[in-house]
Structure formats: structure tokens, C-alpha cells
């Protein structure tokens, strides 16, 4: 079995409305040294086995499903998982 760990983050130029609100919350909780919070998504995808076009497949899943290419970018790691 294979495990893909996918990280989807907003592009830097896109306003992160959730991150900003969370940052404000950390300040009101007293953590004044928080400078910035960015919030993204994290996926763990288990695959049965490596296919011929494996990385290509993951790219398509990310492009078409997990990330919104208009505003997000993604990266991933693949680990063996047995």
C-alpha cells in the first residue's frame, strides 16, 4: 500500500480569510507573538498499489478535486505504508 500526503495551500497572493480570523483569535487569547496564520488542507490518500502513471494520477486528483487551481497550490509526498 501507498500513502500520499497532500498539502493544499492558498497561493500567497490570495487573502486567507480564515487564517486572518484565527490570527486575531490567537491574539485575543494572549499569544501576541503570532505574526501570521495560513490555513490549508491536508489529505491522506491510501492507494492499493503503484500504477503505471502514479504521479500523474495524483497530479490529476489534486488538480481536479483536492485543490482549486484558481486560488490554491499543492504539493505531496508519497510514502510506502504497510
Amino acid at each position: 500500500m501507498l500513502l500520499a500526503k497532500v498539502y493544499v495551500t492558498l497561493k500567497d497572493s490570495v487573502v486567507d480569510v480564515q487564517g486572518e480570523t484565527i490570527k486575531d483569535a490567537t491574539h485575543s487569547m494572549g499569544y501576541k507573538n503570532v505574526l501570521d496564520v495560513r490555513m490549508g488542507k491536508y489529505f491522506e490518500i491510501k492507494f492499493d498499489k503503484r500504477t503505471d502513471d502514479f504521479e500523474n494520477d495524483i497530479d490529476s486528483i489534486c488538480d481536479d478535486l483536492l485543490a482549486n487551481p484558481n486560488i490554491e497550490s499543492y504539493r505531496y509526498e508519497i510514502v510506502e505504508d504497510n
Binding site: 497561493k11 497572493s13 487573502v15
Partner: protein, 735 residues
């Protein structure tokens, strides 16, 4: 990046890629400024002179629309129009299109469309009380369209639900021509509790310009600055100019603006939202309206990104931002007020008396032009229309083929245009604020006005098929259909906002469609004394030179004088008599059944007798006021067959009718008709009121069966089977 010099802007014709023509550029440099505009100035002209901000291609056509009535307190020109509803109360409403942003990024495009139209309403000091929307997509037969539908609907709900304004109505249609160019029109209605409203004006020397709300980023700037890398590698690009909505911040902004206008009106002179073309459009318009000048210092503008140029800051379309013009002596109070809402508020400039628009950035004067040159000096274009070849002027009607009455009935019900949209609109909060009396699903949404007996009813309507086959009559029908929906729910039409969605106006055939359909709209508005008090034009809706159907959308608002008059379309009790008011003839051109059978619509439409239309509207309203109607539903797409079915579904009641109408005519879309039910004890009363222009069809039953005896055929249909066809069609396609 080093900015091109004015000379370079001229020589390399940089202005062209921003949409300015050579002659417009010459007008600016030679006649208006007497010098070459610099890069930033050229950018300001290019957005302010765009169709979106200036209406340079449509102004002449828009003048056809009447914008006055005894109820109008403010017409086009403000952020939104205002209609007096008595008792020192008024409603403010406007619709806005967000077609292109939604095509590029459906969720955020739709969400920010809703956010933008809400700002237009509360910037007038009105409390938003309802939202509506009109959506058009391609047929749901591919993943891309499914994705578009899902994301647009989610974006609309995501914004409206979060900010807490009920979505009370709308429409959704599917047509091939919208496949690559979906239409997303959103409308907001607000209530002004005191007819004293705030103009979007910046007047009085030395008064201060205050910026409130979200920080400015490079959102929505589609200029030449990074256009090249934008379209090179679409998926992998690291920059994005997509605007992202923040309904949470807008809620704070809304509450704060409404409160400051109401409670501290003496502090402020004007309020304006930053919409398209952000800072430049809002401030230039405020100054121009007040015949003032303006000085802005961009170094004070709250910025989200580093190293932004003046051009970028002025044109940014970052969301959730407002501009106020305030009296200097209240500066501390105003800034403190917004701080208590956790909103950024800073002074970014002041009003001057010399009618110049001056912008400083990094201590340099980067813009110095007459305010009016941006707003008033835009050339107006007069296009000549040519009737498109496809328009067949023959009024000969298409006659549907019908093998099985029953199968036709079911397939019309499951056609996406007709089928229930509940699966989609159920994701909108229709009830928040606890004033919604009629939710989506009837003819028009209704919200009551708490503390009074009054209610407001509203609908969004457009039938672009009719406009496509016959722009003039199609335009008329769009208004009439909206009016029938309002009347059916118990309201008197009091005003209209519109979104005029068309293709490229420089194409003479498209211009003809625009001109003729607006003429049709205007003629009906005059006849019925319903003013168009606000609206929006969206042109260039094309993909690969294929234009959309001409798609004027009418957002109509009606006043219900007494909540007892509120009427819905569903049958109420078995035994009630069913009538159709208005006579039925063969009207199949542009109809649902023509489209279903031919895969296209064609042929001219029959003329509409506006006197009969008016008379029938009055009859319905008078019957409602006398308490005679148990239900009322206007007849539109799919004709009597569809209206009967829809009225039966909600309470799962059947009907048993016998009629002189033929089986095909059950699907005819003759105008000016209503389906009503009446308690049998009121038979004589309703018939004497209606005179001779009605047919008593039969009665409502509780046996869940549709029984129809038409002139040339019969039908016995289980309600549940019909209901399934109608209700499951859209969810099934979306799977």
C-alpha cells in the same frame, strides 16, 4: 517592475490591452489633459471608461427605460434605487451580474457577486432584508457544468447564509448557449426605516475620506501588469488575481455601516461601497457627484501585499471595503466606532474644491487629472442595429406532435427548465431573520415587514428563449411574467431592477437584440407605471464568438399592503374549484414543448394585448383583496399542464378537470393567464367578478390522482409519478 513612461504607454499602445481605443486615448491626451497621461492615469481612464463603469455602449438604450413614478425617491445613479412604501419606509434594491468572475472561479465569483450587491444596499443605510438570484448554465450533461452549478450555488449560499440575509427566490435555467458563459445575477433588497438616506457623495472642502474594511491586495487586477504570466500556464501559476469573499467581515461592515448612518448621521456626508474598479471608481464618483475634487494618499491605504504600485492599489477589487466622507471634527469618533467592530478604518484623503483628482504615492504626485474626466467625459457610442437573419417574422405557430399525452406531460415535468430546483435552492437559508412568509417554491418570495401589516414580494425572471426568437415581445414578456408572479402572490408591482446580459454590442445583430428587447421592457414598464430604478449591464457574454441568447433579467419588487393578502401557488383543500383566468390559444413558438421536441426555439411570438394583461392583473389583485383566492399561480413555461402539476405537489392534492382546451394546448404558453382555486361557496362571486374571460376546469381532490379530460384526449396520472419526474430530475442529473 519599472513602470513604462507616458511616452512608452503611447508608443507601445499599452492602453489597448486595457481596453482603451486609439481614439479614446487621443481624446484623453489631446482634448482632456493636453498632455500624455502617465501609466497610472491611463489605467484609471481605462477602467472608468470601460463598459462596466461607464455604460458607454448602452447608455443610449438605457434611456428608453422609464425611471420615475410617484413612489420613486431615488432612481439610477445612486448605489441602488429607492421606492417609497409609505409610513416613512422605503425599499432599496438592485441587481448585479457577476458572469465573468463566476466563469473563471465559480464559487468565489458567485460569492463575491452576492457580497457586492449587498454592499450596494447597505451603503445607502438600508438594512438588507432579502436576496434573490438568477442563474443560467449549459445543460447538465457533463462534469464541467455540474462543477459550475455546484460551485456557483455553493458560493451564493456560502455568502448569503453566513451574512444572514434570507434568499427568498430566484430562477435557474439550462441552455446550450450558456455552457461556457454562465450567467450569475444576484439581487438584494433593503429596508430603509427612515426615508432619509445617505447619498454616495464627497462634498465640502477639507472633509475627510475614510477607508473602512478589508486590506487591499492585488485582487481582480486584470491589467497588463501580470497578464502575461496569468494565462501562460493556467494550472501551475503561483499568483492569483481571484477575489475571495469574506462574508464574516462583510457582516461586521454591514452592521457597522447601518448603525453609523442611523445613529450618527451627523458625522458623515457620504458612503459608497468599493465595487468594480475599487478605490478609483468609488472615490471619483463620490467627488464627481458632489462637484468636488479629491486628494488621496495611498501610503495610508491598508495593504495586504508588499510593493503595490499606485496603479494596483487604485484598481484592486479586494472585497469588503467601503469609503466614507466624514466631517473632520468627528474623525476620532468615526475611527473609534469602527474599531469597536474590529474593522480597520483610516483616513486616506480629503475633499478639495478645485475638481481635480490627485493621488499621492510614496510622497509623489502620481495622478493629477480633472475628476469629471473620469466620470463625465466618457464618449458615448451609438451603434446601429441590424435584424439577425435567424429572426423569422412569421407568426405562424409551431404545432407540437403528441403521441402520448401522458408521456409528454411527464417529460415536460422532468425537463430541467421546468423541474424542481429545490435540490439547489434548499442550500440557501430562506428564513433567517424570521420574516420570510413565502419561501422559494411559489411564484414569488415574500418577506413581511415586522411591526407593520405590510410585506414585500419579489421575483427574478427572464425567459431568454422568447427574447431570442422575438426580442421586442420577448422583452415585454419578461416584465409581464415578473409582474404576474408578483400579482399572484398578492403584491402590487412597484419597481424593477434589471441585469441586461447580452453578447458583444459592437455586433450590429446583438445591438439590435439589445435595443429591441429593452424597447419591449420599456413599453411595458410605461404602460404599467413600474419604473426601472436600478440595474446593471453585462455585455460581451460570448465564447469563441458565440453569443448567449439575449438575456435581460428582471428583478421586480411588489408591495403587499396587508399580510392577509399573501397568496401562494399550491392547492389548499380538496373540493376547491379550479379556474383558469384568461383564454388559451396556440402559442408554441419559443415554448418549452417546442424546445423539447425540436431541440431549438424559433418563430415569432403573438402580440400581447396589454389591456387584457392589465385587466387580468387587476382582477387577480381584486379577488385576492376580497379574500376569494385560496391559491394563485401564473401560467408560464409548460403552460397549464405544468401549472396544475406544480400547484398540486406541495400539499399532495390531486385534481379532476374537464376542459375545452386540446391536449397539445395544455402545453401552450399563451400569456396573461392564471390558475386559481376558490372555495366552492364563492363560485358565484368569483364568476361574476371575472366576467367572461375564464374557464372553470374542475376541482381539487385528495386522491392523489391527476384526472384530465381535454377536448381530444384524457389523462389519469398518479401524483407520485408526476412528482418524481419533477422532483428527482435535477438531483439525478447532478449525481
Amino acid at each position: 517592475m519599472i513602470e513604462p513612461t507616458p511616452k512608452q504607454v503611447q508608443e507601445e499602445k499599452i492602453y489597448r490591452s486595457w481596453g482603451l481605443s486609439d481614439s479614446e486615448y487621443e481624446l484623453i491626451s489631446e482634448k482632456i489633459l493636453g498632455r500624455l497621461p502617465n501609466y497610472t492615469e491611463t489605467g484609471l481612464f481605462s477602467v472608468m471608461w470601460s463598459e462596466h463603469c461607464s455604460y458607454k455602449n448602452s447608455k443610449k438604450v438605457l434611456r428608453k427605460l422609464p425611471n420615475d413614478s410617484s413612489r420613486v425617491l431615488a432612481g439610477p445613479g445612486e448605489d441602488a434605487g429607492i421606492i417609497d412604501i409609505g409610513d416613512n419606509q422605503a425599499v432599496v434594491f438592485k441587481a448585479e451580474s457577476h458572469n465573468h468572475p463566476s466563469a473563471v472561479e465559480p464559487y468565489q465569483g458567485a460569492a463575491t457577486g452576492v457580497g457586492g450587491i449587498i454592499r450596494d444596499i447597505f451603503s445607502m443605510g438600508a438594512t438588507p432584508i432579502a436576496l434573490l438570484n438568477s442563474l443560467k448554465f449549459g445543460p447538465i450533461d457533463n462534469d464541467q457544468t455540474k462543477h459550475l452549478v455546484k460551485e456557483v450555488v455553493a458560493g451564493i449560499g456560502g455568502y448569503g447564509n453566513c451574512i444572514g440575509i434570507p434568499t427568498i427566490g430566484g430562477e435557474i435555467a439550462f441552455e446550450k448557449c450558456y455552457e461556457k458563459n454562465p450567467l450569475v445575477n444576484a439581487m438584494c433588497i433593503g429596508l430603509l426605516d427612515n426615508t432619509q438616506f445617505k447619498h454616495g457623495q464627497a462634498s465640502g472642502n477639507d472633509n475627510l475620506i475614510v477607508y473602512v474594511g478589508a486590506k487591499t491586495g492585488r485582487d481582480g487586477i486584470h491589467g497588463a501588469t501580470f497578464a502575461s504570466d496569468e494565462f501562460s500556464n493556467k494550472k501551475k501559476k503561483q499568483r492569483s488575481a481571484v477575489q475571495v469573499g469574506n462574508p464574516f467581515m462583510e457582516k461586521l461592515l454591514m452592521d457597522a455601516c447601518v448603525e453609523i448612518i442611523h445613529e450618527h448621521s451627523e458625522w458623515i456626508l457620504g458612503v459608497q461601497d468599493m465595487g468594480a474598479a475599487g478605490l478609483v471608481s468609488s472615490t471619483a464618483e463620490m467627488a464627481s457627484k458632489a462637484d468636488s475634487g479629491l486628494m488621496l494618499n495611498l501610503d495610508n491605504v491598508p495593504q495586504r501585499e508588499t510593493n503595490m504600485s499606485a496603479y494596483e492599489m487604485m484598481l484592486s477589487e479586494s472585497q469588503e471595503r467601503m469609503v466614507l466622507c466624514i466631517k473632520p471634527e468627528f474623525k476620532k469618533q468615526v475611527l473609534g466606532f469602527f474599531e469597536s467592530y474590529n474593522l480597520d478604518a483610516v483616513v486616506i484623503g480629503k475633499v478639495t474644491s478645485d475638481k481635480q483628482y490627485r493621488i499621492y504615492h510614496n510622497d509623489e504626485l502620481v495622478v493629477d487629472i480633472p475628476v469629471d474626466s473620469l466620470v463625465e467625459d466618457v464618449p458615448e457610442y451609438d451603434h446601429q442595429g441590424i435584424m439577425p437573419e435567424r429572426i423569422i417574422e412569421s407568426k405562424e405557430q409551431y404545432i407540437p406532435e403528441m403521441e402520448s399525452f401522458r408521456d409528454t406531460w411527464l417529460s415536460v415535468l422532468s425537463s430541467p427548465t421546468i423541474a424542481s430546483k429545490a435540490y439547489l435552492y434548499q442550500t440557501y437559508d430562506a428564513q433567517v431573520k424570521s420574516n420570510t412568509v413565502v419561501k422559494p417554491g411559489s411564484d414569488a418570495g415574500v418577506v413581511r415587514i415586522r411591526g407593520t401589516r405590510k410585506a414585500i414580494t419579489s421575483t427574478n425572471d427572464s425567459n431568454s428563449r422568447y427574447v431570442y426568437v422575438d426580442p421586442y415581445i420577448g422583452g415585454q414578456i419578461t416584465v409581464l411574467e415578473a409582474a404576474r408572479n408578483i400579482v399572484s402572490s398578492g403584491g402590487i408591482p412597484v419597481g424593477i431592477t434589471d441585469c441586461l446580459n447580452y453578447g458583444n454590442p459592437e455586433d450590429p445583430e446583438i445591438f439590435w437584440e439589445l435595443e429591441r428587447s429593452v424597447q419591449g421592457i420599456a413599453d411595458v414598464c410605461r404602460k404599467f407605471d413600474v419604473p426601472v430604478i436600478s440595474g446593471n449591464v453585462s455585455l460581451y457574454n460570448e465564447f469563441n464568438k458565440e453569443a448567449i441568447y439575449p438575456s435581460p433579467m428582471i428583478g421586480m419588487v411588489g408591495l403587499i399592503e396587508n399580510i392577509d393578502h399573501i397568496t401562494t401557488s399550491c392547492f389548499k383543500n380538496s373540493g376547491d374549484l379550479i379556474y383558469v383566468l384568461g383564454s388559451t390559444s396556440s402559442d408554441f413558438n419559443g415554448s418549452e414543448i417546442q424546445n423539447l421536441q425540436l431541440g431549438k426555439v424559433e418563430g415569432a411570438l403573438n402580440d400581447i394585448d396589454l389591456d387584457i394583461e392589465k385587466k387580468n392583473q387587476n382582477l387577480i389583485l381584486s379577488a385576492i383583496k376580497q379574500g376569494l383566492l385560496k391559491s394563485c399561480h401564473d401560467l408560464s413555461e409548460g403552460g397549464l399542464a405544468v401549472a396544475l402539476s406544480e400547484s398540486a405537489f406541495e400539499n399532495k392534492l390531486g385534481f379532476n378537470i374537464q376542459t375545452n382546451i386540446s391536449t397539445v394546448e395544455m402545453f401552450s404558453e399563451t400569456q396573461s393567464r392564471y390558475l386559481i382555486t376558490v372555495d366552492s361557496k364563492n363560485k358565484n362571486q368569483i364568476e361574476s367578478l371575472f366576467g367572461n374571460n375564464f374557464e372553470c376546469l374542475g376541482f381539487v381532490t385528495n386522491d392523489s390522482i391527476f384526472t384530465v379530460k381535454a377536448r381530444d384526449g384524457e389523462l389519469d396520472l398518479e401524483l407520485n409519478e408526476a412528482l418524481n419526474s419533477w422532483k428527482e430530475a435535477i438531483p439525478c442529473l447532478m449525481k
